[in-house]
């Protein structure tokens, strides 16, 4: 049997990642991979065990491609898709500032992380934005924490009850 940390899943992805030659291709692959395999609300669990390791390898490659293609100014100010990082960040902050629903707020925060986690967005912009989004989300989540009974909370979250003993 394949080893835990050295298995066909990882080998196949390492080969695929090695074939990336442009930043736009790397960005597209990383975005697609995160959305499909690392989303909290994903439905595809095929890479549950290896997903984070593979993401890390794609990130490494995207970071190298970014360094090769971006000049210093773009490196500090632009996302790997070319968008202005601060404009993307401001949009997310504006959305969560206007938001009063914790479920919508968590989607804004989770989607921001999936779309922008470095090396997509420069860390200097990402970390400060992530902090502001997280702070607002924590406040919304902790307000009236016990307002809904568990039965209602399960429905709102959309879970199926398999067993309750």
């Amino acid at each position: 049997m394949a080893k835990i940390h050295d298995n066909p899943n990882r080998t196949a992805w390492v080969k695929k990642i090695a074939g990336l030659t442009t930043l736009s291709a790397g960005h597209a692959l990383l975005k697609e991979f995160r959305t499909k395999h690392l989303n909290v609300f994903k439905t595809d669990w095929s890479l549950e065990l290896d997903g984070q390791w593979i993401e890390c390898k794609i990130e490494e490659k995207v970071a190298l491609l970014k360094r090769a293609e971006f000049n210093d100014d773009k490196f500090m100010n632009n996302c790997t898709c070319g968008a202005n990082a601060q404009e993307v960040a401001d949009k997310a902050i504006a959305e969560i500032t206007a938001c009063t629903d914790m479920y919508k707020a968590e989607r804004i925060h989770i989607d921001f992380r999936l779309a922008c986690k470095p090396p997509v967005m420069p860390v200097n912009v990402f970390l400060d934005t992530d902090r502001q989004l997280g702070t607002k989300l924590m406040e919304l989540r902790n307000t009236d924490y016990y307002a809904l009974p568990l039965e209602e909370l399960r429905k709102v979250r959309g879970v199926n009850v398999i067993t309750l003993q």
């Binding site: 835990i4 439905t43 549950e48 702070t135 003993q165």
Partner: protein, 527 residues
């Protein structure tokens, strides 16, 4: 001889205004209040939901220089005792072998807690605005660095001077296979340093330190002494002298936010979640380490828990904070139910999963079984009988081909792992309060053992994505997982973990495990 004009000026100035030879406590206090750090841009990673008042006091009023002088004296006494007297009398080899194994867990795990507490109190320093309060947190940051070194040193000392070094020397390499690691990281890492700084303070200072350091750091010295261990009290009592400062810091954290509107919205929720998070792990694990990791008993864990957690903390300490709007956590009642049987349930599962550990476990002797039955009536019928059966089937003997995990499988008692606390539980063979709850979200099943953890997950699912060993290794054979997860000694084939502490007993190897053919299965798949 002529002197320079600068020297003369300095000499003349000293004649008028002599340099102080001592500083009074009030002068120091006054000086602290005049600190003028730039607080305007001061913040931690996530801004706390609370506003911390800028006139908060700090009870110890120690400046860093006095602090360093005091701590260096404590270190000299501690390391001097360990390296001189205790080494000469071969103290590490006089420890009861069962307790030697307990210290592998206690000191390695506490080291993680102390390490994370450095960051936690650093976050609080960043968040606070009052100079005195910052000074209190600064002292604690330095304490936690010291404690991290002390915990590491205990393991180093035991490994170098004592018996069976494996597990004392390199426990972390087994972290991917040992089921106790993940729960420990939940309380000591995630609980202490993730998210809101004040919520982290509630986890660390108000619950971890004010509630559980008495049972953990004080009680452990009693159990250690009773079992021939002179090193642990020397080190842990030195640690405990600093914990008072940390409890005071936790108290002042609450005082600093008492008048903030946010406190009425969030504080009791944060406290309830923090208490449940910490107790869910500490209550069973500490009870298990003390009672099952010792030969000579001190007092039943349930009594220790009742006195220090329920009465001292839940009643007196939280009661003192009542004037600031703090209420005793609602989950305290459920915790009390768990304090009686949860550690017995956990030991049974821990022994069944012994090959995945980094320490040796031993079934209770007949003498110990009498103690359990006397203090926990009903213990024999539930646990004692099963241990007799396991022993009769040769669970300690590598030639027997029997792992206690097989007993759970044969008798259809699946072991689950709580998604939030990561603590294993067996709902069909348990006297504790755990109940099985399984929920499915987008095709993935999650098991929980109580209502409080279920609510935490439903409220914040992305925080609890940690996979458990049944999910990680499903379909894999146990000896392969142990080998790849570094669960073997330096010879490459003898397991670090063993199901006995006998010096004459044979040690289990990877081959002994392999011939049993034990394969990991995820119990949630069959539901």
């Amino acid at each position: 001889m002529a002197i320079s004009s600068a020297t003369k000026a300095a000499t003349d100035a000293l004649e008028v205004n002599r340099a102080p030879v001592s500083v009074g406590a009030q002068e120091v206090h006054k000086w602290l209040q005049s600190f003028t750090w730039d607080f305007d841009k001061n913040r931690t990673k996530y801004s706390t939901k609370y506003h911390m008042a800028n006139d908060t006091k700090e009870q110890f009023k120690l400046i860093a220089k006095e602090y360093a002088r005091m701590e260096s004296v404590k270190d000299e006494r501690q390391f001097g005792s360990l390296q001189d007297v205790l080494t000469r009398v071969d103290a590490a080899n006089r420890v009861h072998p069962k307790w030697n194994e307990s210290m592998k867990v206690i000191s390695n795990f506490l080291e993680v807690g102390e390490y994370n507490a450095i960051a936690a109190t650093g976050m609080l320093w960043d968040s606070a605005t009052a100079p005195e309060q910052k000074n209190g947190y600064l002292g604690q940051v330095l304490d936690e660095i010291r404690h991290t070194n002390q915990c590491g040193y205990i393991n180093y000392y035991f490994a170098k001077q004592g018996q069976d070094a494996a597990g004392h020397n390199d426990a972390r390499r087994t972290r991917a296979i040992g089921p106790l690691w993940k729960g420990m990281k939940r309380v000591f890492s995630d609980g202490f340093i993730s998210g809101d700084a004040v919520e982290c303070s509630i986890n660390l200072q108000l619950v971890g330190e004010a509630c559980f350091t008495n049972p953990l750091i004080v009680a452990v010295t009693e159990w250690a002494s009773a079992n021939g261990d002179e090193m642990t009290p020397t080190v842990f009592l030195s640690i405990e002298t600093d914990e008072l400062r940390h409890m005071a810091n936790g108290y002042q954290t609450v005082v600093s936010i008492a008048n903030d509107e946010a406190a009425s919205k969030y504080l009791n929720t944060d406290l309830n979640n923090a208490f449940w998070t910490q107790q869910k792990y500490f209550t069973p694990v500490l009870g298990m380490m003390f009672e099952y990791g010792s030969h000579f008993k001190v007092e039943p864990w349930v009594k220790t828990w009742n006195r220090w957690v329920y009465e001292d903390w839940g009643g007196i300490w939280i009661g003192r904070l009542g004037k600031y709007g703090v209420e005793s956590p609602a989950s305290l009642r459920d915790a009390k139910k768990d304090a009686y049987w949860a550690h017995h349930d956990l030991f049974m599962i821990a022994y069944a999963l012994w090959p995945t550990g980094f320490f040796r476990l031993t079934l209770p002797t007949a003498e110990e079984a009498e103690w359990y039955e006397a203090n926990y009536p009903g213990w024999y019928d539930m646990y004692g009988k099963v241990y007799e059966e396991w022993r009769a089937r040769g669970c300690e003997d590598p030639n027997s081909g029997f792992l206690p995990l097989q007993w759970f499988i044969e008798n259809n008692h699946p072991i689950y792992i709580d998604r939030v606390s990561q603590v294993p539980f067996c709902p069909s063979y348990s006297k504790g309060a755990s109940t099985l709850r399984v929920l499915e979200l987008n095709g993935k099943k999650h098991s929980f053992s109580d209502q409080w953890g279920e609510r935490m997950w439903l409220s914040e699912p992305e925080r609890y994505e940690c996979q458990n060993i049944f999910e990680q290794y499903e379909g894999r054979e146990l000896s392969e997982v142990i080998a790849e997860g570094h669960g073997v000694r330096s010879d490459g084939f003898t397991l670090i973990a063993q199901p006995h502490t006998s010096k004459d007993g044979r040690l289990w190897t990877l081959d002994d495990i392999k011939k049993i053919g034990c394969v990991f299965a995820d119990p949630l798949k069959s539901l």
